[in-house]
């Protein structure tokens, strides 16, 4: 139903994502991860947070997670405030 299709839910529009990985990641990875904000969580995990332009960009980021052998825990799309 295109009429009721939520604009913000369009997967090919920019949206904020949170990628959670295992281990505390150094801040120096920020440029590598296209500027995502890197925050450590108390339980030893790391959140990569930031706007991702579309699905292709998201997959590109996940590939980078893969390439450095970072265990991936979750990927969450955050509704923009």
């Amino acid at each position: 139903m295109p009429a009721s299709h939520s604009h913000s839910a369009d997967p090919d529009r920019p949206a904020v994502y949170q990628i959670r990985v295992k281990g505390h990641l150094d801040g120096l990875w920020q440029a590598w991860f296209e500027g995502l904000r890197i925050t450590s969580e108390e339980n030893g995990n790391t959140l990569l947070t930031g706007p991702v332009s579309d699905q292709a960009a998201l997959h590109g980021l996940l590939r980078k997670v893969r390439d450095i052998g970072l265990p991936l825990l979750s990927v969450v799309r955050v509704e923009p405030e």
């Binding site: 505390h24 990875w29 920020q30 590598w32 030893g44 790391t46 052998g69 970072l70």
Partner: protein
């Protein structure tokens, strides 16, 4: 690509002197050999390459190894590397597939390339492994599809090993269910506590307590890269326990923690070197020296290799190294964080080094990575004249397409190369647009239209010689387009312009321009001039050692000579070129298919339909996997004519339909338009309504002025009028048909096109006969016979069927050319088919041999070796061996002697 770098991709990584032996994994791998496919799928740093390398050494099978990198993500590139890897086992594997890959655009279907390759593999005797390492680097849909095809058609002797960080797009569930897949995954690859102990204490020479080992094993979860880095950090420490405590107590990502530790322990110059060269896929001392701007590249690499972490040698000569991908990623992240502004200049320096060292593909890749489009454009411009097997037109085109359009437009030389690349794909419109842009640039007196002065200066320096001759190169492109679009006057004008502009010593381009001129003469009916030009050009190409192009021009010469009615000279041209192919030895150029095609057509005309069929079959076998993109059309047309001569009109129509779909616009003049061929068959079938619709659509009239390019259509129109008159006297204008044919005849005589003259005389004789004037018909036929006899024409008469047969009987009664006419009359009623051979009658279970297998069998019986048979039949040795095996299987024989004896017994070979 210099041999060293290619060799590095194809050579097995050197074995490490000390590694952890993993007998349980090797055992699992050995047990999986019957499955056909082994997948080693795990994240970075799990020792995949090391394990496969160890297995390769242990499994006693020959190994074809291919280390992939991101630059190989194009299908053509991937397949040529795959062939190159297989050729490390045997240089003959994949020559056909390579021919296909080398072919002009568009690429032939991937299946035909893979089939050609797999056929060669099937003929290989030993079982072997093919390893595709780092397969995740080349994820692309066409490559996934190719791999799926490969896996589903895997010959039993080939075992495929894929090492990757992510599962490939293969039907894994189905393969697992069928037991056709063995997998090792992260859980299998982790070091067990015992292996960790072995690694840390034996391989890395530490002396750690069981508790320390257990702690490290737990912290890294058996991740081999983590353990290796930890070992390096521990090396030379007096208090390992404290380091281990700090490490295990930290939440930091293992890699961050340990790489910091390792980097901190490097002297500053080494650390800097690492960061500066992290962008490189392969490392050599000179390349690293250029990128890091220092002259101790080799010393640095050796320090790093001795340090044993960051680099792995790619060859035994220690010329090429690479960083372990995992470390390269970490280093790159650090460069981005610490020296972000430096990255473009690092790429730029790498690009320049590669360019200076004759590696255009890498040079262009780094220039694009530097986002230095001017540099990329300059390198693309320089690279075009040297595009070859390893640097494909597709790669080149992809590079040009990655550039901003206005930048290409501002570079006339590049625009013109772009146009020529598009011409090869048949995109005439795209090519013309690029040529027009280049012309505008050249003509523009307005400096504002030109790029900034500095860039223009770079451009001129880049390829000054090409810029000077650019108007000539544009003119050649224009002539090509004009000729392909059937605009003869423009072709001549542009080709002459090119010749005026080109220096006398530019043989190659003068040859191209002259050839286009020759094609224009041909299209214009000036066949003698065209014949001279192409005969000269063929000689020139042959003496320059360019056999493939010489073959292509030879068949043009043969086609022209057939139109000139010099059948024997045409055959001589083709046969002589075949002898040249044999004499040069080595692999048979795919263009050879056209020689057989031409000979097939000649044999058909001479009435030897069996020889014609054999020749066309040879053409098909040679040509079907070559991807000569305009060739299938010509073959189907030749087959259609043969079917027509055999009386199979429906089959001929179907072949013409197939041919129509494969028509590609090239500069070869379309002197026998396919629609007119089809109409002739309709006329023979009595489908006159359809034929009339064709004539209307083509706007043909009996009053048209004769013109060579329309001669075939006009003769077809005359045939239509004759058929109309015959089926319903008075309906067609038979007088006008005769008038048209007489004018066509005068034009053909004036142009000294004997082939046309004979054909027109034959139809004119039939027209007179239909009009009821037998004396005129016989007089005309007599002229045709006089001209045709010396060249041995048969089908030109016989294909006309009963009306011609009646006329020939009348001619025989008058004593015209008695021997020749008798021969022709006999050809109307070929001898009844040979009695069924005992072999075919009695062998209910045995499969009959194919035409080709019979041929091979005959040569086997003559005592020829496989190599000799291959040379004799212009086949690859592998194809001959495959035929021989198939013959043995069909005859249930185990060797040559048995096969020959069995064949004699069955009557396939004459009994002795």
């Amino acid at each position: 690509m210099p041999l060293t770098l290619l060799a590095a991709k194809l050579s097995l990584p050197p074995l490490r002197p000390k590694t952890v032996l993993r007998p349980h994994l090797i055992e699992q791998l050995n047990a999986g050999l019957p499955a056909g496919l082994t997948l080693i799928s795990a994240p970075a740093g799990f020792g995949k390459t090391t394990l496969v390398r160890a297995w390769a050494a242990a499994c006693k099978r020959p190994v074809a190894w291919l280390s992939l990198d991101e630059g190989d993500a194009d299908l053509a590139g991937f397949l040529s590397y795959l062939v190159a890897a297989l050729q490390t086992l045997d240089g003959h594997i994949g020559t056909g597939a390579l021919g296909l890959l080398r072919a002009a655009q568009p690429q032939p279907p991937t299946e035909s390339i893979l089939t050609a390759l797999l056929n060669d593999v099937t003929a290989f005797h030993n079982n072997f492994l093919v390893v595709l390492d780092d397969f995740h680097l080349i994820r692309a849909k066409p490559i996934d599809d190719a791999l799926t095809y490969l896996v589903e058609h895997l010959p039993p002797q080939m075992h495929l090993v894929i090492a990757t960080r992510e599962d490939p797009h293969l039907p894994l569930a189905r393969l697992r269910a069928r037991g056709r897949l063995t997998e090792l995954r992260a859980a299998d690859l982790r070091f067990t506590p015992a292996e960790a102990a072995d690694f840390l204490n034996q391989v890395m020479g530490l002396n750690l307590s069981p508790d320390d080992i257990a702690a490290l094993e737990a912290r890294t979860e058996g991740w081999i890269a983590g353990l290796q880095l930890a070992a390096l950090s521990l090396h030379g420490r007096t208090d390992p326990a404290r380091f281990i405590q700090a490490f295990t107590g930290s939440h930091r990502f293992v890699l961050d923690y340990l790489v910091d530790e390792v980097l901190e322990r490097q002297p500053e110059p080494v650390r800097r070197f690492l960061l500066q060269t992290a962008i490189l896929d392969q490392l050599s001392a000179p390349l690293c020296g250029a990128v890091a701007e220092r002259d101790d590249g080799q010393a640095m690499l050796e320090v790093l290799e001795r340090g044993n972490v960051f680099v792995a040698p790619l060859d035994d000569h220690r010329h090429w190294y690479r960083y372990h991908h995992l470390f390269a990623e970490v280093l790159q992240a650090r460069v981005m964080a610490e020296l972000p502004d430096l990255i473009p200049s690092l790429h730029r320096r790498a690009s320049l080094w590669y360019a200076q060292n004759g590696l255009p593909a890498e040079a262009i890749r780094h220039a694009l990575a530097a986002a230095d489009f001017d540099l990329a454009a300059a390198q693309l411009e320089l690279a075009w004249p040297h595009t070859d097997d390893r640097f494909h037109h597709t790669t080149w085109l992809a590079g040009v397409r990655a550039l901003p359009a206005e930048l290409v437009r501002a570079r006339p030389v590049l625009s013109v190369w772009y146009a020529h690349a598009l011409l090869a794909t048949g995109d005439l419109e795209g090519a013309q647009a690029r040529l027009a842009e280049a012309e505008r640039w050249l003509e523009s007196g307005d400096p504002v239209q030109k790029p900034a002065a500095t860039q223009a200066a770079t451009l001129v320096i880049v390829d000054e010689r090409q810029l000077q001759t650019l108007p000539a190169t544009i003119a050649i492109g224009r002539a090509y387009c004009a000729q392909a679009l059937g605009d003869g006057p423009s072709t001549v004008q542009c080709a002459r312009q090119a010749l005026d502009l080109l220096p006398a010593d530019d043989q190659v381009r003068r040859g191209q321009a002259t050839a286009l001129l020759g094609l224009a003469y041909w299209a214009n009916g000036n066949l003698e001039a065209a014949d001279r030009i192409f005969s000269d050009y063929t000689r020139q190409l042959r003496s320059a050692g360019n056999l493939p192009d010489a073959i292509s021009t030879a068949f043009v010469v043969a086609d022209i000579r057939m139109a000139l009615g010099r059948l024997r000279e045409a055959a001589g041209t083709l046969e002589q070129m075949l002898q040249n192919v044999v004499a040069q030895g080595g692999s048979v150029p795919p263009e050879t298919a056209d020689l057989y095609r031409g000979l097939g057509d000649l044999y058909r005309e001479w009435g030897d339909l069996d020889a014609a069929a054999r020749s066309l079959l040879s053409a098909q076998e040679l040509g079907e996997h070559t991807g000569l993109f305009d060739w299938p059309h010509r073959l189907y047309v030749a087959q259609a004519r043969l079917h027509q001569s055999q009386g199979d009109l429906e089959g001929a129509l179907q072949l013409l339909d197939q041919a129509e779909g494969l028509f590609v616009r090239t500069p070869l003049p379309d002197v026998h338009p396919l629609a007119a061929r089809r109409t002739r068959i309709w006329i023979a079938q009595g489908r006159l309504t359809e034929a009339l619709a064709w004539a209307r659509e083509r706007g043909l009239s009996v009053d048209d002025t004769p013109n060579y390019l329309r001669e075939f259509e006009h003769v077809t129109l005359a045939r239509l009028l004759i058929a109309q008159h015959t089926s319903e006297p008075g309906a067609g204008s038979i007088r006008e048909a005769i008038g048209l044919l007489e004018r066509l005849l005068s034009a053909a005589e004036a142009g000294r096109r004997l082939g046309s003259v004979i054909k027109i005389l034959v139809v004119l004789a039939l027209a007179h006969e239909a009009a009821g004037s037998r004396p005129a018909a016989l007089g005309t036929l007599e002229r045709a016979l006089m001209l045709a006899e010396p060249e041995g024409y048969v089908r030109i008469f016989v294909d006309e069927g009963p009306p011609m047969e009646r006329l020939l009987h009348a001619a025989a009664a008058r004593g015209t050319a008695p021997d020749y006419v008798q021969r022709l009359l006999a050809a109307f009623h070929p001898a009844a088919p040979a009695p069924t051979r005992p072999y075919a009658a009695q062998s209910t279970s045995a499969e009959p041999l194919s035409e080709r297998e019979r041929e091979v069998l005959h040569h086997i019986a003559e005592g020829l070796t496989n190599r000799e048979i291959a040379d004799r039949l212009y086949l690859s040795l592998y194809t001959v061996k495959a035929h021989a095996r198939s013959i043995y299987a069909k005859l249930e024989a185990n060797n040559r002697t048995q096969a020959v004896a069995k064949a004699r017994e069955l009557g396939i070979l004459p009994r002795v």
